[in-house]
């Protein structure tokens, strides 16, 4: 029982980071039909930036944090949107898919080549003293990951449902042409989505950095899990990505502990395949109309 609870908490903790990554991913898809295959690298790059500011330059934590989010939103949000997406948006889904695959390789191998192929350690953000509840031992890190992720998702949800800009985003997600006709500046909103996604990725990066080490290739696994989470939960809903992320985290943690750690990546994938075959719109998604 003790093991079970501890594994559950660990799973939810890592799952909440996957969920953060997946939500941005879903937002991009909704407003701009971008399947961002570089989503994992969108988390890795801010993690490296954080190492640069915090460890190499020895800036205070708060300043390093703000600088990381700034760098991420500028480079991965604004710049990627302006250089890549604006031009490819009109050409359908496939060119963007291939372009983001290229972008992911570019970021990954640039970090490896021009920075380091080794894993960089990252100082713990939260106290290392564990929390004891009877026989159950939980780390501060795990609790704070869940709380912070929850806070960010809550704020995002408020933004989308309560502000004019959020309503405009929903309108663009539902029908881009109609939104444009109604006078919404679609291009500006797509930029906003990219900036939001980059900010979410930066938060995920700061949370994941102490859990994994910071290495150029951790984005492969992260991006995949965000994608699994999005598909399992439902590609067109934020709540779906949230559910999917938590589910992937928990399933992965339990299967690694109880079934086989060698095949830990395979179990989330099996759920994914089952969902695709049985309920393609996702566990908590909404059916999309036929569109090509």
């Amino acid at each position: 029982m003790t093991d079970f609870v501890q594994l559950l908490v660990a799973g939810i903790s890592i799952g909440s980071i996957y969920a953060l990554t997946a939500i941005g991913f879903v937002l991009l898809w909704q407003t701009s039909n971008t399947i961002n295959f570089a989503q994992g690298e969108f988390v890795v790059l801010p993690a490296f930036a954080m190492v640069l500011f915090l460890v190499v330059l020895r800036w205070p934590f708060a300043i390093a944090l703000v600088a990381t989010i700034l760098v991420s939103t500028l480079l991965l949000g604004w710049l990627v949107k302006e250089l890549l997406v604006t031009r490819l948006l009109t050409m359908g889904v496939l060119p963007l898919v291939i372009a983001t695959i290229g972008l992911s390789l570019f970021i990954r191998y640039s970090l490896q080549q021009f920075w380091t192929p080794l894993a960089l350690p990252f100082p713990p953000i939260f106290p290392r003293v564990p929390i004891r509840l009877g026989t159950i031992i939980i780390s501060w890190e795990e609790v704070m990951n869940v709380l912070l992720a929850g806070l960010v998702v809550g704020a995002l949800q408020l933004f989308i449902t309560r502000t004019r800009l959020g309503w405009a985003m929903q309108a663009v997600a539902q029908n881009r042409t109609l939104a444009a006709v109604l006078g919404i500046d679609v291009s500006r909103l797509v930029t906003l989505t990219f900036v939001l996604n980059a900010a979410l990725a930066a938060v995920a990066a700061i949370l994941i950095a102490p859990v994994y080490l910071v290495k150029y290739d951790i984005g492969i696994g992260l991006g995949l899990k965000a994608f699994y989470a999005a598909i399992i939960g439902g590609f067109n809903q934020i709540r779906g990505a949230l559910l999917g992320g938590l589910l992937v985290g928990v399933v992965e943690t339990f299967s690694a502990a109880y079934i086989s750690s060698q095949f830990r990546d395979a179990f989330a994938l099996l759920i994914l395949l089952a969902v695709l075959l049985l309920k393609p719109e996702g566990l908590w998604g909404v059916k999309e109309e036929w569109a090509s």
């Binding site: 898809w29 399947i35 295959f37 890549l84 031009r87 490819l88 050409m91 889904v93 496939l94 060119p95 963007l96 898919v97 291939i98 372009a99 695959i101 290229g102 972008l103 992911s104 390789l105 570019f106 191998y109 640039s110 490896q112 080549q113 192929p117 492969i220 995949l224 994608f227 699994y228 598909i231 060698q262 095949f263 990546d265 395979a266 994938l269 994914l272 395949l273 695709l276 075959l277 393609p280 036929w290 569109a291 090509s292």
Partner: protein, 310 residues
Amino acid sequence: MIRRFLPLGVLVFCALLPLAFEQYKLYVASLTLVYLILAIGLNLTLGYAGQISLAHAAFMALGSYPVAILGPRGLPFELGLAVGVVLAFGWGLVVGFPALKVKHHYLAMVTLGFNIIAFLVLRNWEGLTGGSFGISGIPRPAWGPINFASDRAYYVYILGWAALVVASAYWLLSSRWGRAFRAIRENELRAAVVGVSLRTYKVMAFAIGAAYAGIGGALFAPLLGYIDPGAYTLDRSIQFLMMVVMGGLGRFEGPFIGAAVVTILPEVLRASEGLYLILYALAVVLMMLFMPKGLVGVWDWLVISSKSRI
């Protein structure tokens, strides 16, 4: 007349040229042919039928491992190849089946997942695949007294299969199948309305592409005589994707250009692996932005501008 036979002549010249090469260059030439076969398969699936596949390396593995497992036990190479092609085709049907239900971005994910599972199985099923140590001592094909053990003879053997694959792909694409594939790529709904069976053609486009990957994989195994799971990773699948995209999606000439550029260029540049991957990645992004038709577009442009000059 000249326009028709010039490319063919250039092709024959390029195919026979490596016979004058030695060891390493001959190896690169053989590898290029193997990759050409694989790229033709992916071009069929992605370029013509518009079904994205990121599992091409997994299908390649399905071709390689039967050869690697049966060959050292004294069974003929062609038997291993046949088993591999059947396996690749069968799994192509299985993986292609979700293509009926989901749109291409999901398909990218399903196939990518398949490649990851395939890699995990190859690495962990040690009894059959030798795990991460792989399998060594894979013999090259032999027909009674004639054997293809030398590098040059094996190049000729691969060339024979490549010619067969090119010819069959050409025949397939100019038949009603090719037209159906293109119709589906351009507009599924319209294709279905005019009577193209989406179910049959979508799954078959996938399975046939996979079968070609099986042939390429089978020929790949004896090339070095050693294989391990590291040759069949997701990165390799992405490399095939780059080949097809760089050459020119949905163009018959595409895979020739793509396979040649992606295989030979890094060997010539001799840059470190990381650096050329960066360059490739950049090239893919730039290509999508400014040359979505691939390098074949440059060729077209040269032909057109030379015509208008006359």
